[in-house]
Symmetry: C2
Subunit: 167 residues, 2 copies
């Protein structure tokens, strides 16, 4: 018998809750089975980010300067080609708040501001609430229609697996 | 007799007209005494930009990739220190429309979208209309209160002088 090729899904993984609090925002809420410091590390350390952000696709972390004013840039190598993403950090307040801009090479100059809040649930779990603010309702709607939600859930499931491997 | 140290001001230079069409926008209108192609060049060629954008301060053009998706980054060396500015081009449509993001190192992650329209007035003059869109009214108001208008008029007067030297 050989080991299974696919890693088991962690128990209790549920899709992210995606809502639209205003016409220019998207709010995403998701609970992870790990303490807050560990989830913070997974969002901010390059070797961790590379293991989940690309949803199983190879991800090159070209820049990840986690400090106010620092830049980040990732290139995801997927079956349909390469996609670059980049932005800059507005606020870095470990372990509970990270604010950064987000821009996809496919729509350069369209910039969302992503605010991630890491909430310690007190039972070893962490809730991550991300709010994205766009310049216009049309840009927000374009993001919603881009397949973002499916991609996000794939990323977060990869993060579940990473957190389960490295408790 | 030696030549005057200061260059003469061109005749007819008037301050830019600054208005606020919505709570998240600033609109700036200014007429230049030069044909549209010449004004377009002054906004897009590094050797020209370096002569006016910094209002007389030394300006390093670190990047100026004038194409969709291209990045720009300038560092102004003023008497009170260095200031970095950067962004990315969303749309480049010579000679009449340039859309790019704008961010100042002093407030990283606060991104405005600047749309510049170059209007041929038909008499050898060009009107430049720039509209800046911010994520929030507070960011817009912060820009208005930053001394932007004075700095802008200094830049545009330096541009008048450049255009008068290179007709």
């Amino acid at each position: 018998m050989s080991a299974p090729l696919r890693e088991p899904e962690p128990q209790g993984a549920t899709p992210a809750i995606v809502t639209t609090p205003t016409e220019r925002e998207i709010r995403i809420e998701r609970v992870f089975e790990a303490p807050r410091e560990r989830v913070w590390q997974a969002f901010t350390e390059p070797e961790s980010v590379a293991q989940w952000w690309g949803r199983g696709n190879r991800l090159d972390i070209e820049r990840l300067e986690v400090e106010r004013g620092g830049h980040w840039r990732f290139v995801e190598h997927g079956p349909e080609g390469d996609s670059g993403f980049e932005g800059r950090f507005r606020e870095v307040s470990p372990p509970d708040r990270l604010v950064q801009t987000f821009e996809w090479d496919g729509m350069p100059g369209y910039v969302a501001v992503n605010t991630a809040e890491f909430v310690d649930l007190g039972d070893g779990r962490t809730k991550v609430v991300t709010t994205s603010l766009f310049h216009t309702p049309e840009e927000r709607d374009g993001m919603l229609q881009s397949g973002m939600e499916g991609g996000l859930n794939q990323s977060y499931e990869a993060l579940d697996r990473l957190l389960a491997r490295q408790p």
